[in-house]
């Protein structure tokens, strides 16, 4: 398959690395110096503009199947995709970083109709939505929603006092409609059984209907009653920070502070937000953080557009005693480092975008819903073929390290037990480790088309 990537930045590089072994990859960037980074990869680098017809022709747009525009400039991405669509008919994916192109309702429909862009990805908005979900699930280090919010996934680190560590899982009496799908102990994943015991320090993944998940959240995991008020500090009022703040600003149970160093931007934030306290200063200014008692925040979100400063702000927050620290990481490679030095939830906007594009190329009858733990685990949506013979879940010869977390049958969503059956036409939400992902994907055979 011939793939063209416009923009040789972080996203372009990660894509090229993931896809070059199996596909013909062309990378276009206006800066020739960028070519050096691609020298070690088996790709063709073309210096030039992604909006230049001659460069696009040179890359063979008319014969390409996939066209990804991921430069730092939204306008360039949109125009490049539109041009590619005029010359050939590749599937076009356009990355945007600002609200302009998607702001109004149906913005992506507009882009599809008039510019022929098949998919618009907005990593920053995705990141902001992820962070908001995690904040709204106090105690959790990750939170995801599937099937329009009818199924939730939460990830917790078990504390010393957690009631879940008291005995075998079977004796825990989890609320109906909730399931412990996986446990991560150290670097090892396991799918727990009724006889399994959980230990403090384990990371547990729970899946289920929203209501029972809420009960678990407060009672079982932390061993503390849920607090009704949360205080949240956001360091960095850029695009991501503003989006998070806007969503949290609506909730009356959250005391919100935003620290922004640019005073004009600070005024704009204060004008836009109605309840949040906007502080004009540097998120790494210890004096300011101490004066404002940032250490007493429940959550610190550091979303400056600079990894080093984010890390610094996060470490200061940790030192001051913030309970949970969520940090934006631009370089996907730094995620583990961030976690090791004490950031609870390091998140990479572009990492998720790259994963979803790569997954789309691999295709199949499945869809990638979420990437967990820096890509070590995945949540997949799997379509069961119509002719599949109804089988109880426990009799299914499922790949190792994978578990069905939810079944959608028509309008119904089931959080299954071993005796629940899988029938033709069902949609499965599956938790799997990355190692088993390929097996899971091909479990029901190759795609129908």
């Amino acid at each position: 398959m011939r793939l063209i990537i416009v923009g040789g930045g972080e996203v372009g590089h990660a894509l090229a690395r993931a896809l070059s072994p199996d596909h013909d990859v062309f990378v276009i960037d206006h800066n020739p110096a960028v070519g050096d980074r691609f020298a070690s990869l088996d790709v063709e680098f073309l210096p030039g503009s992604g909006t230049s017809l001659s460069v696009l022709r040179k890359a063979g747009v008319e014969r390409s199947q996939l066209f990804v525009a991921c430069t730092g400039q939204d306008e360039v991405n949109v125009v490049a995709c539109a041009l590619a669509n005029q010359i050939g008919s590749p599937e076009t994916i356009c990355l945007v970083s600002r609200e302009d192109f998607l702001g109004a309702d149906g913005g992506s429909a507009l882009l599809r109709e008039h510019f022929g862009i098949d998919r618009v990805l907005w990593p920053e908005a995705q990141l902001a939505a992820d962070i908001v979900r995690i904040i709204e699930a106090p105690g959790a280090i990750d939170a995801e929603e599937f099937l329009d919010g009818r199924v939730r996934l939460l990830e917790y680190r078990l504390e010393e006092r957690s009631p879940l560590c008291a005995g075998p899982l079977a004796t825990m009496h989890l609320p109906r409609g909730a399931l412990v799908v996986a446990v991560k102990r150290g670097d090892q994943y396991m799918i727990p059984r009724g006889s399994s015991r959980l230990l403090p320090g384990d990371k547990v993944f729970l899946m289920g209907h929203p209501e029972p998940m809420r009960m678990i959240q407060s009672r079982l995991v932390t061993g503390r009653p849920a607090r009704d008020r949360q205080s949240v500090t956001i360091v960095g009022g850029g695009d991501v920070g503003l989006r998070i703040a806007q969503q949290l600003d609506r909730s009356p149970d959250i005391d919100l502070r935003v620290i922004e160093s640019n005073s004009a931007r600070g005024e704009m934030l204060a004008a836009t937000l109605s309840r949040a306290l906007v502080l004009n200063g540097d998120g790494t200014d210890l004096e300011l953080l101490e004066a404002e008692e940032i250490g007493r925040s429940d959550v610190l979100v550091s979303v400056i557009d600079n990894d080093e400063r984010n890390l610094f702000a996060s470490l200061i927050g940790r030192q001051l005693g913030v309970r949970k620290i969520i940090t934006r990481v631009s370089k996907a490679g730094s995620l583990r480092l961030f976690e090791r030095v004490g950031v609870d939830v390091p998140l990479s906007a572009r990492g998720a975008a790259v994963a979803s594009i790569v997954y789309g190329v691999k295709g199949g009858r499945s869809r990638l819903l979420a990437v967990l733990e820096e890509g070590q685990a995945e949540i997949l949506e799997l379509a069961v073929p119509a002719g599949f013979v109804s089988t109880p879940l426990m009799d299914l010869q499922a790949p190792p390290d994978s578990i069905v977390g939810a079944i959608r049958r028509g309008d119904e969503v089931i959080v299954p037990h071993g005796d629940d059956r899988i029938e033709g036409g069902d949609t499965l939400i599956v938790f799997t480790t990355a190692a088993s992902a390929d097996q899971v994907r091909d479990f029901f055979g190759p795609p129908a088309d």
Binding site: E260, A270, A271, L279, N280
Partner: protein, 483 residues
């Protein structure tokens, strides 16, 4: 500052204003008050001649009309029109100072009177007193702008100098249409009130005169005992409702009538205004009920008096001078507030109090969070620093002018309560105060100099201080020339 420009515009305004003299002539003729009719005729002709001569003697309006000239025109227009309107009062026997006081009180919709014996004057006299109030309620300049489309640029400067509220509410892109829309609403509300008052059994003449005074938030009644004299509870409720409307933003009411039902209730100022009315009415009614007034009467008089004072109308449904100090204290506090911006009411206006209160609270918060960005917001929008500064300066000037005038009036022999309330009710264009300037008393007994000071206070207060005070800067006049 080009005097020719000022004189020219002034002439134009006066020329149009001359037309209003026709109405009292007709009324006087209808009631057979021929002597008064000649007075109005003479004053009207004099006004017309002055206007025409002023326009002829000065060149037309240049394109580069200046802000200072606008303020000068507006300030001078109100002063000159007040003087011309006082001529019929002098003709009927009032002393010149009292006549000017009465005329300024009417035009600025204050409602303070120097009349001692109402029986000395005819129907046309009281009609004229009400009519100038009604015109002054929406504004001399608003009339001018609505009628004359020609001075497009000048009109803008004048219009906003006359009603310089902190928020410029414009209904249409064209100023003239905005002025017309406001006049239509004003006339429509007036017609509705006259009809409602007729239904309650008030005679036509009284209904018209009281309506003039109600919608202008003025307070001149043709009855010596104000609304109390009619002993008509239904009419009191009708007037309460229309006073409330006169104190609310006209532009927002217009938008409600044009199919935006939320325009009023979404407005923060209107909500605060309504809140003040409800709470104060309940408070006053409670004290009246404690003082042995029947419940329904207490509620009626409580609501009437609170709305009357807050909107700076100044009608009395009861002689509140006889009340105990608690409800009077509530009324005194209301005298310092006023109605909404963009209404016929006077005073500092609810919105300015709202902004200053928010500003103060945010400054308190700043002591805890010295680095916080804390903009003052109104209706979800940030109030620009320049506007906020103007509001604070206005409030400080208001207190300063109040203190200076009170001191002068007190030094000239008035007792303390009289001096304080006489000043605040004239500066805020309210009308009656307490003690010797109470609702059933008058201002005639004050020292002549006090009356002049209070006349100026009404003038300055109606134009919201800064328009007039800005003209006191010497630098402005040093460069004054004819053209």
């Amino acid at each position: 500052m080009r005097l020719a420009v000022i004189v020219h515009l002034l002439g134009g305004i006066i020329r149009i204003y001359a037309v209003t003299f026709a109405a009292p002539i007709l009324v006087a003729a209808w009631y057979g008050e021929w002597r008064d009719a000649y007075g109005f005729l003479g004053a009207g002709l004099l006004t017309l001649v002055i206007g025409v001569v002023a326009v002829r003697a000065s060149p037309g309006i240049p394109d580069d009309f200046r802000r200072a000239e606008g303020m000068a025109v507006v300030s001078a227009a109100w002063l000159v029109v007040a003087v011309l309107s006082a001529i019929p009062f002098v003709w009927t026997g009032l002393g010149p100072i009292d006549a000017l006081f009465e005329s300024m009180s009417g035009l600025t919709t204050t409602g303070s009177t120097t009349l001692v014996d109402f029986s000395l004057y005819g129907k046309a006299f009281f009609f004229w007193r009400g009519l100038i109030m009604w015109v002054g309620g929406l504004g001399v300049i608003a009339l001018f702008v609505a009628v004359l489309p020609r001075q497009a640029i000048a009109g803008r400067e004048l219009f906003f100098a006359e009603a310089p509220g902190p928020t410029d509410e414009k209904l249409t892109p064209q100023l003239r249409q905005t002025a017309m829309a406001l006049w239509k609403l004003y006339v429509g509300l007036s017609a509705a009130q006259v009809a409602a008052l007729l239904v309650t059994g008030m005679p036509l003449y009284d209904a018209v005169c009281n309506t003039f005074a109600t919608l202008a938030a003025g307070g001149f009644s043709p009855h010596a005992q104000s609304i109390m004299g009619y002993k008509n509870p239904a009419a009191e409720w009708v007037i309460t409702v229309f006073m409330f409307l006169a104190g609310a933003n006209f532009a927002l009411q217009y938008r409600v009538l044009r199919g935006e039902p939320g325009a009023l209730f979404c407005d923060e100022e209107f909500r605060a205004y309504s809140g003040i009315v409800v709470v104060s009415s309940a408070l006053v009614a409670f004290y009246l009920w404690q003082a042995q007034m029947p419940v329904l009467a207490a509620i009626r008089h409580g609501a009437f008096q609170v709305v009357s004072i807050l909107t700076t109308t100044g009608f009395a449904s009861v002689d509140f001078e006889l009340w105990s100090d608690q409800p009077k204290m509530v009324l005194l506090a209301l005298m310092f507030i006023g109605g909404c911006a963009g209404s016929a009411s006077g005073g500092p206006k609810v919105v300015r109090h709202l902004l200053v209160a928010r500003f103060t609270i945010l400054e308190l918060a700043r002591t805890l969070h010295p680095r916080a960005v804390l903009p003052v917001k109104l209706g979800g929008r940030v109030v620009p620093d320049a506007v906020m500064r103007a509001v604070v300066v206005f409030m400080l000037f208001y207190l300063l002018v109040f203190a200076v005038c009170t001191t002068i009036v007190a030094l000239l022999g008035a007792d303390l309560v009289t001096a304080i309330t006489a000043t605040i009710v004239t500066l805020g264009n309210t009308g009656p105060g307490f003690s010797r300037v109470g609702p059933m008393a008058n201002f005639a007994h004050l020292h002549p100099l006090s009356k002049i000071v209070l006349t100026l206070a009404m003038w300055v207060g109606r134009l919201e201080l800064l328009t007039v005070l800005a003209l006191l800067q010497p630098g402005l006049w040093r460069k004054a020339r004819w053209r």
